[in-house]
Amino acid sequence: MLFNSIEFLIFFPVVLIIFFLLPHRLRWIWLLVSSCFFFGYSYYLYNDPVNFPYPKNVYWYVFNALSIISVIAVTYYCAIFIEKSRSTGSDNSRIALALGIVYPLLLLFIFKYLNFFNQTISYMASFLNLNYPGHILRIIIPLGISYYTFHIISYLVDVYRGTQKAERHFGIFSLYILFFPKVIAGPIERAHKLLPQFHEEKKFDYGRIKDGLLLVAWGLFKKAIIADRAAIVANEVFGNPHGYPGIYLIIAQFSFIFQVYCDFSGYSDMAVGIGQIMGFKLTDNFRRPYLAPSIAELWRRWHITLISWFRDYVYIPMGGNRVAKWRWQYNTFITFILSGLWHGANWTFITWAGLNGLHILISSWTQSIREKIVGFLGLAKSPAFYKIIKIVITFSSFWFSGIFFRANSMSDAFYIISHLFTGLDGLIKTAFTLNYEMLKTFLVIQNKTTFLGFSKPGFLPEMITLALGIAVLGAIEITQENSNLRLRERIARKPWYVKWALYYCLLFALLFLGVYTNQQFIYFRF
């Protein structure tokens, strides 16, 4: 069930009203039931009943349901066992920790990575002239598996480290894993932050609910006005990159880079807002990443809960930066490669993450040279201008690596990169002549009834709306970046008529300018 669907528009108010009507002691049951329904219904919708018809899909439903139930049960008991073993000073806690981690990771491997590894071995075997029957299994991946696996690992490790108490209430623990605002695509919440919130009584608070509703509306703005509109262009061009000259490949990659950000940060805003309406504080997942002045900083602002997870449970245990330089470089690169692999079992994701890791390493290697150049050019004297240059360079690097993230295959990615500038010289020369008819010969895509995925008359209004949406997003993010105040706090301080005018504009934009074709959120598939 998507947050921007009619189903959710019915589901959520029903859940919310009953939640506040129930006494506190029964609320967890209601939330757990609602979350199970949400999860099951989303699973049904996501897994395309046409391609997996009855009875095949029923077996998968049962298998997937059993897998998540067993993972919750194993983790629950392992955590209690670890805690008890620790208190008695027994070494068995390590075994329980290993079991609790290996079991969900094994399931994750089977569901998500088995085909990938099988295929890779098959390619390698054929390269070495060996016979390896690399059968591809038709698997239905449990929805949100990458997310709940990470929830579980961090919970067990924290219990093992003694920073988190093992939850004794099985229902509440299940709710921690299945809580519907975050079960499918995060945020990846740490147990110490979310678990205690299920025990606290939530009061009906107008200010908090209004704040949450605004956050949901803003998330929907990003999703419906920017992401789903940009997706039309990106899907069209990346679906057939060979049919488009360089300028459209560039436009499509720009579209994608805004699509992926607005899609996921929009989803995260909606998740946080939905949690907030009910009284739960979930973690913000994005903090204006495209305004980051370095790639390392961009990654501290992008998918914050995932990156901080990798920092705390992979990078720091490997030694972090408190090791020899070569080892730090190794740790950084491996962490990025693992984050790429988390995104998907595909070389495109691994390359994308690897390029970002490489950028961080290159930044480190070239730091002294860059400082000299900055000094020579006198850029340090105008810090604002210097910051803009750094932001542009960081964004460009992320834009470039994003080609691998979006391309359907490695060969498509290489094709796109090698054709980014095809036909651009003629286009630029013609643009200076102001010869419209000649310019058209560079821009017209022959034998197509649509233009970049839109109908021909619809193209211009849609692209203008997209550009306006991005401009509004940019203006808001730049304002936020330059002041410590959150936008909602700034709005709250305005007179009532200004507030209502802003609310009206937001609602107007959502109603009339949104694209509501029920596009899946990109991060659902991870």
């Binding site: 107008y206 021909k456 209004p461 849609e462 109603l511």
Partner: protein
Amino acid sequence: MMTKLLTNMIISLILMSATVAIVWIAPGTYPHDLAALVNKREMLKAKRPPRMIFIGGSSQLTLKSPLIEKELGYSVADMSLWGGLGTREYLDEIKPHLLPGDVVVVTMEYATALDKQYIEFIHTNEESKKFFFLMSPARHALEYLQNKEYFNLFKVIIELSQIKVRSYVRNLATVNTAHLFDTGFPNYDREFNENGDRVKPYMIFRPLGDTGTNFTYPESKNLVFLNDFFEFAKTKKTRVFFYFSHFPEKQYKANETYINAYYGMMKQLLKFPLLNKPSDFMYPEEYFADTIYHLNEKGEKIRSAEMIRLLKKVL
């Protein structure tokens, strides 16, 4: 606090409903090819009787209507737009506008009679339904209400309003304020003449596009609506004719069995005159532009002249 929240939500709902109503009533264009239906409806209403009304798909868009007007003495309204709209649905739309003495000339592209998948697509196409709604909103709204399709009615109104608002956005962003409150399709006057013919010839592409040619034998249930329309037209003292559309020789020969079956069925079924037989409008590929449906300038001249000759015989 609960009351405050509910009050604010109700105020927002009222504000948005009022905005939808204002957007719906306000004049504005719809940047969508099918919005030309609105302009064509206005053109039809403005034509002095007796009128010759051409109903068909894009294959008939390049008709030389001024020539037909001159030769036959009727005011011509070329209502053609897109075969995918559906002839049955289109004929229903023009029923309220028929006047005594009018002549309706109907053609159907072969795909709309012989390709089952395409026929299915036509009758379930939500885009067409949406723009037919724009042609006669009151009638369609009543249908939705009678069928208790309240959500679908809401959806159509919102979707059409969205298209209109995006057109306002475009016109404001490009400072095209002179055309801010035009109606129907933006730049209709540049793309169509006063008779509804397409002004620009289709571009020439090879090989010809040939979607919708998975032909099978025709089914009479898909064609009886033509007689229903004829019966209605009789009550309005309007004459109806049918002609078989043009088709390239190669595709004609490849599908001759089905096309002949279609011709045979129409001869038996129709209660009103057929103007031609399919082979009369079988043309070499050089007469076609980009698809097997669209004629180029040369082909159109020949087809229009032939049309005048055929009509002269029956009028």
